[in-house]
Assembly symmetry: C2
Homo-oligomer: 213 residues x 2
DNA sequence: CGAGTATATGACTCATGAGTCAGTTATACG
DNA sequence: CGTATAACTGACTCATGAGTCATATACTCG
């Protein structure tokens, strides 16, 4: 051992973040049950014991990972909510652009896959995601759609289902990337997918020609 | 013990199917790792030892469950492939109708969730699903779209991405049902979702008015 | 500089659950 | 019937990995 190079350092400030980051990678790779604490610890550059200085249990770490990933999405939701009514297609294109960036810069897709896969074992997490992200975003979107319908910018129909038409293909793209691309399927350019989908679906949402009052 | 009512019966023909059925329920509920063989055995009405008369390992049972669920879907794919070119919207509505029924009558959604969640731990299964179902269906759909574009029934664009616009919202609906509904989210009427989405997306895929050659 | 303390280690324990197998029971068939 | 054997059971073994803790090391502050 070189003198002057300590075996480890005290970094109580930075540790939790490093651990959550490492855990995200391992959970995304293996799922909750198959992820090993030793591997998470190794990846975070600490021993297993150190994990227990900052977290109570393995589940605790998992929860932290999922909650961590919630934050950037709340921004997303806020963005949708905030904008005051430009023409509907412009509103959507702005939202799609924002979403593209979030997907590119975060591990949102991996976490979504985790939440989906573990929803039965961690119902509270599924509930958190639903209540704090999915439901809020969907409601905001539905309301924007309802208003656009009133203004005659969007054809009539259940706004909540229209929201599925808007968002579904993007979710499918994200899942595709996480599930099939690592297994040999051709990669997907999500940005282009989103652009073309916007083109299609926004055109499809335009009011029918020749409807009666 | 009543005489004349044996403790168990020999049913070597029926067992494998019963076991796979029970395993599907437990895997769908818990995921691969958290599913216990004792629970699967109990649900199938046999002892744990009996499982090993028909399957080598737990993974083996999992594979059987996933492969089992592939069968009805291959029919789906065939259905898409077979029909000879009615007008594109009719073709799609037929396909959507067929798909609605498959979703209602099978546990397709649950298995899809399993494949997505376990894809990293069972890459061969993800590959099987990709190669035998998803890719084939998507390719068939893309070809139909490409032909419809040639005929001027569908606007130009990458047919593979258009396929995502068609299928994504349905996948999202299925995942919603499996993930959020059990956790208190409002249930979704998939049939209606599919109908309204068909309306929206098929309208959106119609050729643009006033394109240049 | 040298207690004193917060931070970290890694060998250990112990619950869990997949997989095994010696023994038991149903059934087919002479 | 009775006997051979396929079908089945459930108590057991054993590997794994989460969680613990006695010990060691880095830092802090008087």
């Amino acid at each position: 051992m070189q003198a002057g190079s300590p075996k480890w350092r005290r970094r109580s400030e930075a540790r939790p973040g490093e651990i959550v980051q490492a855990a995200l990678e391992v959970f995304a790779e293996k799922g909750f049950a198959a992820a090993k604490l030793d591997e998470i610890a190794a990846k975070a550059g600490v021993s297993k014991g150190a994990l227990y200085l900052y977290f109570e249990t393995k589940e605790d770490i998992f929860r932290a990972v999922v909650r961590e990933a919630v934050a950037p999405n709340l921004d997303m939701v806020e963005a949708v909510l905030a904008r005051e009514e430009p023409p509907f297609p412009d509103l959507m294109r702005g939202m799609f652009e924002h979403l593209s960036q979030v997907i590119e810069t975060t591990r949102l897709g991996a976490v979504a896959k985790l939440v989906i896969g573990e929803s039965r074992n961690f119902p509270e997490l599924a509930r958190v995601w639903h209540d704090e992200i999915v439901s809020r975003a969907l409601t905001a979107l539905s309301k924007a759609l309802a208003r656009a319908q009133m203004r005659g910018e969007v054809r009539t129909g259940d706004p909540r289902l229209q929201a599925f038409s808007l968002m579904g293909p993007i979710l499918m793209g994200v899942i595709w990337q996480e599930t099939f691309t690592p297994v040999g399927a051709p990669a997907l350019n999500l940005r282009i997918l989103i652009l073309q989908h916007a083109d299609t679906v926004l055109s499809g949402l335009k009011p029918r020609v020749g409807v009666r009052p």
